[in-house]
């Protein structure tokens, strides 16, 4: 069966510090991968998605970036965090051609 791992679960970072969140999927090949952000009390905003290694699409302009160095690995990064980057970050995967999403457990990021 497929599983998705996301870490860390919580993170407190100072403004201006770098960020790296990692997500890996097991039990499937060539998944579509997604990063979503959920601000406190808000809905989900799609940040990035990827349909294959090295293929990243950005949905909104921001100081975040994403990379997919391996088929089942998706990384969210920032060189310098802003206060507005605080939120709950969710990684998700789906099978190609099927939009049903399976979510990771999330990372609660607080930028202070």
């Amino acid at each position: 069966s497929q599983t998705i791992h996301q870490w860390p679960a919580t993170l407190v970072q100072p403004v201006g510090s770098p960020l790296s969140l990692e997500c890996t999927v097991e039990g499937t090949s060539n998944p579509n991968l997604y990063w979503y952000r959920q601000a406190a009390g808000r809905g989900l905003q799609l940040l990035f998605y990827s349909v294959g290694i090295g293929q990243i699409s950005s949905e909104v302009p921001q100081n975040l970036s994403a990379s997919r160095p391996q088929d089942r690995q998706f990384i969210l990064s920032s060189k310098k965090l802003l206060l507005s980057d605080s939120g709950f970050y969710l990684c998700a995967w789906s099978l190609g051609g099927n939009e049903k999403l399976f979510f990771g457990s999330g990372t609660q990021l607080s930028v202070l």
Binding site: G43, L44, K100, L101
Partner: protein
Amino acid sequence: ELKVEQNPLFLSMQEGKNYTIYCNYSTTSDRLYWYRQDPGKSLESLFVLLSNGAVKQEGRLMASLDTKARLSTLHITAAVHDLSATYFCAPRISGDYKLSFGAGTTVTVRA
């Protein structure tokens, strides 16, 4: 761009009573998902509605889809405390594989 509106955004339910959450979306969509999120947790898929007129039921929850009206509803029958959570609808633009999420409806069930 597919815009999704859920209402109400907050819903205080009394145990044992029935309630409905509405999900309207702006452009043609051929399928729609409902997800549940417990506080501080990830999202769990509840239903997928694949066609106009589709109805799915599980326990006290029933979801329906009217693609012509661009409307989905999530009906809660005889609310109980363990239904307290945030519920999201997520339609898919026809021909796309990405989902667009509503802002969520936060449900609190009180005795």
